[in-house]
Each structure stands twice: as structure tokens, then as C-alpha cells.
């Protein structure tokens, strides 16, 4: 495998020398996400496989090209899981792409995001240097935490070769409930339940229906069902429902209108915007399928104290990500320069000057 790393490093050095951008790509399942990819493809799938797995240490170290489905199967065999439920968006999804995209699924509200589970990385920077940060242990504050910010960096800082992830056990039991509620009431109740010691692990509201997933000890689930009420959803239907939300195969996501992702404080009242909404993460994530103009949507998100991302759209001329404040943008440019001085990695994928 070391020869693959060497090949990647040589390729990066050559690209840096010629100032030719590289497009870091695994299975290409997230090609739709972010600004348009540019550059010559560097396929990360050649560097694949599990480096080390210690279930009792709750840690796995995986190469970037490993299929995400394979990683999940290996964990499941040991009763463990990726608690943040990353979406695959296709059968080819790889571990490197999962970390670089930094997207988390329904369980994020309870468990945390991708970055919360990253313990360490091995990466190639824009000079082709092979660097390791963080480690394979749960607690580590030696040096700056360079590994976690790679989650969601869209490959703009470096090529993630290997990642060590914290892998918690699967919940002992799960149950899904369905309640009929209008959006404002659903958001109110989600915030109310969020403040109670209830084992809520996911929620999704769309078209007047609120689905809630409970995860934990069987006894805790019984108590929570009594406290929340609603109608029980059969296990099979529940798992296909949550898969549809996570993978965006739910009918809400099929409309063809631009899909916006609004990340807002959980208690934000229903956003008065044209189009349809699907609410997740206890109210903190609002999907919006809408033809409304970008400025209106971004203003509404900012007003609420959050931000809006143009998640899927044919026309991305309005910019995918919310622009950064000048002081923050400057730090971004400086960091890009520190990691990738020749700007070879996925230039423009996040912001034009990154």
C-alpha cells in the first residue's frame, strides 16, 4: 500500500510544480455537493482497506478508498457503528469522501457529527508530505487539532489517506413513533423533549407527520413511549423510513426544485419561506425545496442565527455556501496556504478563493 501513497505524493508534487489542480475523488457519490469540481481526477479508491480495528478500544483506522458500506459491515459484525449515520448517496461512497464531505445523518442530533468522531488522520498535504495528526486514542490534546477540521473540508486542505474513528456500540434497542403535528407544534415539542432525559436519537417532520426514533435500553424505550405517545411504527417500515431520510430517497427530496439545507438554532420558529420543508435534528436542520431566490433564503437563515447551503441544484450561480465574514475568510485563505500553497487540492470547491 505504501507504493500507492508514494504514487499519490508524486502526483501531488508534480501538480504543485505545474500549478495544475487535482480533483480528489472516491466513488463520486458527492460530486453534486459543493461548487463545481475542477481539475484532473486523483482516484482515492486505490488506497483501500482497514488498517487496524480494536473493538474494545472503540477505535477503527481505515484507508480513504475503503467503501463506506464495507466499513459499516465490519463494524456491525462487532456490534458497533458510525453513530453519525453518514449518508452514502450511492453505492460507491468511500470513507475518505464521507469525511471530506462532513455530512451527518439523522442520529447527528443525539450522537454528534462526523468531526466529533474523528480521532486522527494521516494525510498528504499540498507538498506531498505524509503527515499524521491526532491519533488512535479517545483523548488527545497534543498540538493543534488538525484532524477534525478535515471533516467537511471538501478536500481543500489535503488528501486524507487514513482516518481513525471512534466507533460506539449499536443501541440495544430501537423504536420509532409517528405523531401528527403541524410544523410549529412539532418544533416546540422537539425542543421540549430535547430538554428531558429521553433517549431520542432521530426525528423527521414533513407534511404534518413527525417521526421520532428512540434508541437505548429496552426499559428506557418503554418509559419514553409512554411519555411521548403517538403511534408505533413497525420495525421494518421504520428502518426503511430512516434510510430514506438519510439517503434522501424520501419523496420530499424528489421534487426537482433546488434543495436548500438550513442549519439553524433548534428553537427557530417555522421559516416563512416559499416551498416545502423537512425538519430534522430536533429542529436544528431544515431542508427546503424551493425556487425562492438565494438572498431571501440566506437572509432568513442568518436572521435565525444560522446559515443556508444550496445543497442540490442545477444552477449554483448564487453560490453554494454562505459567504464568510472578512476576518474569518482571511484565516481560511491563510490556512489554505499553510496546507496547500500551490492550491492544487479541489480549488474553488468550497469558496472561489480557497
Amino acid at each position: 500500500m505504501q507504493e500507492v501513497v508514494k504514487r499519490y505524493a508524486d502526483r501531488i508534487r508534480a501538480a504543485a510544480a505545474e500549478k495544475k489542480p487535482l480533483r480528489l475523488r472516491g466513488g463520486g457519490t458527492k460530486d453534486f455537493y459543493g461548487e463545481a469540481p475542477r481539475g484532473e481526477i486523483l482516484d482515492t479508491r486505490d488506497y483501500s482497506g482497514i488498517v487496524a480495528y480494536e473493538p474494545t478500544e472503540l477505535v477503527i483506522t481505515v484507508r480513504c478508498g475503503t467503501p463506506l458500506a464495507e466499513l459499516e459491515a465490519v463494524l456491525r459484525a462487532q456490534g458497533q457503528t458510525l453513530a453519525f449515520e453518514p449518508p452514502h448517496f450511492g453505492s460507491g461512497a468511500t470513507v475518505g469522501g464521507m469525511v471530506a464531505a462532513g455530512l451527518s445523518g439523522p442520529r447527528r442530533q443525539a450522537a454528534g457529527a462526523v468531526r466529533d468522531f474523528v480521532l486522527g488522520v494521516r494525510m498528504l498535504d499540498g507538498r506531498g508530505d505524509d503527515l499524521s495528526f491526532g491519533g488512535q486514542v479517545m483523548k488527545n490534546v497534543a498540538g493543534y487539532d488538525v484532524s477534525r477540521p478535515l471533516a467537511g473540508s471538501l478536500g481543500t486542505l489535503g488528501l486524507i489517506l487514513e482516518v481513525s474513528l471512534k466507533v460506539p456500540p449499536l443501541p440495544f434497542a430501537e423504536a420509532t413513533l409517528k405523531l401528527e403535528l403541524p410544523q410549529d407544534k412539532a418544533i416546540e415539542m422537539l425542543n421540549h423533549w430535547g430538554g428531558q432525559p429521553l433517549p431520542l436519537s432521530a426525528c423527521a417532520w414533513a407534511e404534518g407527520e413527525l417521526f421520532l426514533r428512540l434508541s437505548g435500553a429496552a426499559s428506557a424505550l418503554r418509559a419514553a413511549r409512554a411519555a411521548i405517545g403517538g403511534e408505533s411504527v413497525a420495525a421494518e417500515d421504520a428502518s426503511s423510513y430512516w434510510r430514506a431520510v438519510r439517503e434522501q430517497t424520501h419523496s420530499f427530496f424528489q421534487g426537482g426544485r433546488p434543495l436548500w439545507r438550513l442549519s439553524v438554532p433548534s428553537r427557530t420558529l417555522p421559516l416563512e419561506l416559499p416551498g416545502e420543508q423537512l425538519v430534522e435534528w430536533g429542529g436544528a436542520l431544515r431542508w427546503l425545496a424551493s425556487n425562492a431566490d438565494a438572498r431571501t433564503i440566506r437572509e432568513a437563515a442568518a436572521q435565525a442565527g444560522g446559515h443556508a447551503t444550496l445543497f442540490r441544484a442545477e444552477d449554483k450561480s448564487a453560490g453554494v455556501f454562505t459567504p464568510l465574514a472578512p476576518a474569518l475568510a482571511k484565516i481560511h485563505r491563510n490556512l489554505k496556504h499553510a496546507f496547500d500553497p500551490a492550491r492544487v487540492f479541489n480549488p474553488g470547491r468550497m469558496y472561489p478563493d480557497l
Partner: protein, 494 residues
């Protein structure tokens, strides 16, 4: 251990005082030795240095102006919260300004519905949970110094605590950090939603030891207080058995709310101090806590008990009341002061290791006790592999001090060798800076320095901490030539 007093330049001091007095009231700028003395060290008192000037801002605007002024004057700035840190991260700079954030201690907002609190950096960790208690909420990370330590310091160190296996570190419980850069610009990392646009700089700033920016406002997450909690106190006749038992609990699919271990010397030291009723004959004690609803806890305690039994625990006690639970914990929580009574000084280490190497590392430490003629009880966050060996010594005896330093250095390097890290939660500060040269390759250290420059081009924020210079690693390498092979052979030698 390393008292490097820099020569004070009175002219420069006067210039800095004059500049700061234009920003702060006269009583918020300290420079007389009797006034600056209380700031000469943090919780790692073996390292001391008098700051040239101490500044005590009351608000963000003052912090921004101070930083801007210091940058113009090219004066180093060391931010300080409550000064409880254990790695010398807030050790002052003799030619710099010590920026105390102690006056910024207001809880600005507490939103029980959104379950978050917006606080100033000087607010004590425990004060947040106290303020949230009426709503059935609390702030989860609980470092043992939580009565005194400030949230700003917790952010600077990415502090943990005995419950972080289940509830996460500071990183996992902070939504947003508002901070001033050395240029005096206010920036926000993260926001009050669950994520923010751009790179995840919140993660980068977390644990950066005040070297990238100075936090002026922090939004923390509050979580519902578990309905109840119970703890199992299990006794083992062998330390490795106890370590394996901790692994077995996790292998059974359980994430305990707390999973802590003490070896016999630690148990004996604390028992004398707190009278928790510990079994003094045990080679190791394991504290294994469950929290949640009453039903959930009962179910989990049953499962954990079965696992511990199978793993060879010879005695168990399960707390039957909240008072008893606190009593069982009292010894672990008081481990540091209790051990402190055994000896004039103690030196607390903070390595993290893969749990499966525990037996090997403890045997290694026992061998070093004999080698250096110093005692070293151990307390261990068994759930996450974070080890706190406590070397007992007398700082007034220079030879003991030297032996302690060498002892600690060997332990830290062992932690790296077994695949761990030199610091799990206390930070590098000044204390472990040499070992950073062992843990990281030159290219990695160079990247750390580049990250620092991305925020602080002139290197004025908390200089000479956390990330060693090339020169320092070369010097350190020269001191510890092993097998004729110099580390960092690529470096020029002076």
C-alpha cells in the same frame, strides 16, 4: 523546574503600561512585583515567571484593543482564566502581557428551550451547571477542577473529565466560540446552530492553548440531567485484570457514564483522606457508573455487574443511594489533593494509551519507581485510556526534581511508544513541549507552526508553548542521543 527569569526592561514596561492605561482603568493594569506575583504560575507551580504587565479587561472591546496595541508594540500576550491548568499553558512571559480574563465572568444568556448558555470566558465550569440546574439541565464536561476552572481555560485545553467517555470533551459540548485575533478583530468559530459555513475552525481553536485567538464569549450546550445515577465499586487482585474488565464492559456494548480506576497506592492515599470505605487489600479498584432513567440504570447495572464478575472482580458494592454514590466517587475526585498529602510535592502526568497496553505501561512505571527511587500512585480514566500517574517528590531537593523530570519524560515517551499521546486533557503547555519533538515528525511540527502563523503571523499569542521550535527539538534531540542515532538528522547542528 525551569525558572528562566528574563531581564526586565523598565523602559519597555513603562511604554506598555502607558498604552494599556489608555485602554483600561489604572487598577486594571498591574506591574509592581507584589501585584504581578500572584500570576507568576498556573497549576503547574514548578514553572514560574513574573509577567512584565498584567492586564485585567472587563469586556470584549477592551480585549480587542489590548491585543491590537500589543501587536503594534510586538509584545507577547498570554491569556489566563482561573490559572488551574496543569501544563504551564498560562505561564507568563517575562517580556509580555498576562491577559487575565477573570473579570469577564458573566453568564450572558441561558436558554432552557434551546438548551444553551452564552457565557464569558471567566465563568467557572461549575457555575454554568449551577445556573442550569433549575431547568433540569447541566454542562456535561466535568474536569476535577470544575469548582475553580474557567470555561475559557476549558476551551483552551479541550478539557475532559470523568464523564467524557459518554458525554464527550469540551469540543463536543461547545457550539460557538467568539474570539479576538491578535489583530484585534472579532471572529466567530461555530455558531448557535449545529454547524457553520466554511472549515470547522471551532475544532481547530479548541485545545489550542490560547495560541490562535483569545476567547471572549462561549456558547455551550446544556444537556438534560439524567434522572438517576448509580455506581459499582469493584475490587480486583490484579491491575491488569481490572484493565481487562474495563475493556470487557465496553465489549459488551455498554458505554458507562464513568469508568475509572485507581491502583493500590492511590487507593490507600485517598482512603486515609476521605474515608470512602475502599478495600485497601485490592490491587486495583474500578468505579463503573450508569446514568439515565431508573429502569435504564437498573438494567445497565445488572449487565455491568455480570461482566465485572466474569472478569474476575472479587468484590462489588453498588451504590444504594445518592449519598453512597458520592461517597464512592469522593476518593477518585479527591485523588490529587489526597496524594498531595503524602508528599511535599507531586507531579501529575496525563498520557493516553490504548487500554490494552495498560498492564505493560503500569509495569514500566513500577520499574521506574525503583530506578528513580520515587513513588508513583496511578489514577486512570479507564474508559478512554487516559492515565494520570502521580510522581511524589520534594521540590526543595534539586536531585529529586531532576529525577522526577526524567521519570516523567520516560513515562511520556512510553505512552508514545505504545501508540498513545503525551497529553490526553491537560495540554502540552511548557511542560511536555520537548516530548512533542518525539511524538511528531518535523513536517508535522512545521504544519503546526504554519497553522499558528495563519492566525498569528508574528507569533505573539502565548509564544514558546505547545509547539516546539525547530531549534528546541534539535537541542532536545542532542540531549537524548539513543544508539548513536540523532533524531532529526536532517537538521543543521549548531
Amino acid at each position: 523546574m525551569n525558572e528562566s527569569f528574563r531581564l526586565l526592561d523598565p523602559v519597555r514596561q513603562a511604554a506598555v503600561v502607558k498604552t494599556l492605561r489608555a485602554i483600561l482603568p489604572a487598577d486594571a493594569v498591574l506591574f509592581e512585583q507584589e501585584d504581578t506575583k500572584p500570576y507568576e504560575c498556573d497549576g503547574l507551580s514548578a514553572y514560574r515567571e513574573l509577567p512584565m504587565v498584567v492586564a485585567l479587561p472587563e469586556n470584549e472591546e477592551q480585549v480587542a484593543r489590548i491585543l491590537r496595541a500589543c501587536r503594534l508594540l510586538q509584545v507577547p500576550v498570554v491569556a489566563r482564566g482561573a490559572g488551574t491548568g496543569l501544563s504551564g499553558g498560562a505561564l507568563p512571559h517575562g517580556k509580555g502581557v498576562l491577559l487575565s480574563l477573570a473579570k469577564m465572568k458573566s453568564i450572558l444568556a441561558l436558554d432552557p428551550v434551546a438548551r444553551s448558555a452564552r457565557v464569558q470566558p471567566g465563568v467557572r465550569n461549575l457555575a454554568i451547571s449551577e445556573a442550569a440546574a433549575p431547568y433540569g439541565l447541566y454542562y456535561a464536561p466535568d474536569p476535577s477542577s470544575q469548582i475553580a476552572c474557567s470555561i475559557g481555560g476549558n476551551v483552551a485545553e479541550n478539557a475532559g473529565g470523568v464523564h467524557c467517555l459518554k458525554y464527550g470533551l469540551t469540543l463536543h459540548n461547545v457550539l460557538r466560540v467568539r474570539a479576538c485575533t491578535i489583530e484585534g478583530e472579532v471572529v466567530e468559530f461555530g455558531n448557535e446552530a449545529l454547524d457553520a459555513p466554511g472549515l470547522d475552525l471551532l475544532a481547530l481553536v479548541m485545545g489550542s492553548e490560547g495560541m490562535l485567538a483569545v476567547a471572549t464569549e462561549i456558547t455551550v450546550k446544556l444537556v438534560p440531567k439524567p434522572e438517576t445515577a448509580r455506581v459499582i465499586l469493584a475490587a480486583f487482585d490484579d491491575v491488569e485484570k481490572a484493565g481487562n474488565a474495563a475493556a470487557a464492559v465496553i465489549a459488551a456494548g455498554i458505554i458507562p457514564a464513568g469508568l475509572e480506576m485507581m491502583d493500590q497506592p492511590a487507593t490507600r492515599a485517598v482512603e486515609e483522606y476521605v474515608h470512602a470505605g475502599y478495600d485497601l487489600g485490592a490491587a486495583a479498584l474500578l468505579l463503573c457508573e450508569s446514568d439515565g432513567t431508573a429502569e435504564e440504570v437498573e438494567e445497565e447495572i445488572e449487565k455491568m455487574t455480570a461482566v465485572l464478575k466474569r472478569s474476575g472482580a472479587y468484590d462489588f458494592r453498588i451504590s444504594q443511594s445518592e449519598a453512597e454514590r458520592l461517597k464512592f466517587w469522593s476518593g477518585r475526585k479527591a485523588a490529587f489533593p489526597a496524594v498531595g498529602r503524602l508528599s511535599p510535592d507531586y507531579y501529575c502526568m496525563d498520557g493516553t494509551i490504548p487500554r490494552k497496553r495498560l498492564g505493560e505501561v503500569l509495569r514500566f512505571i513500577a520499574a521506574l519507581e525503583a530506578k528513580y527511587g520515587l513513588r508513583c500512585p496511578n489514577v486512570f480514566h479507564a474508559g478512554d485510556g487516559n492515565l494520570h500517574p502521580l510522581i511524589l517528590f520534594d521540590a526543595n531537593d534539586p536531585d529529586q526534581l531532576r529525577r522526577t523530570e526524567e521519570f516523567a519524560g520516560e513515562v511520556l515517551e512510553k505512552c508514545i511508544e505504545v501508540g498513545g499521546t503525551v497529553t490526553g486533557e491537560h495540554g502540552v503547555g511548557i511542560e511536555k513541549i520537548n516530548q512533542m519533538c518525539v511524538q511528531f515528525k518535523p513536517g508535522e511540527l512545521a504544519m503546526f507552526r504554519a497553522v499558528k502563523r495563519a492566525f498569528d503571523e508574528d507569533g505573539l499569542l502565548n509564544p514558546e508553548k505547545n509547539i516546539p521550535s525547530l531549534h528546541r527539538c534539535a537541542e532536545f534531540g542532542r540531549m537524548r542521543v539513543k544508539g548513536g542515532q540523532l533524531p532529526h538528522p536532517e537538521l543543521p547542528r549548531f
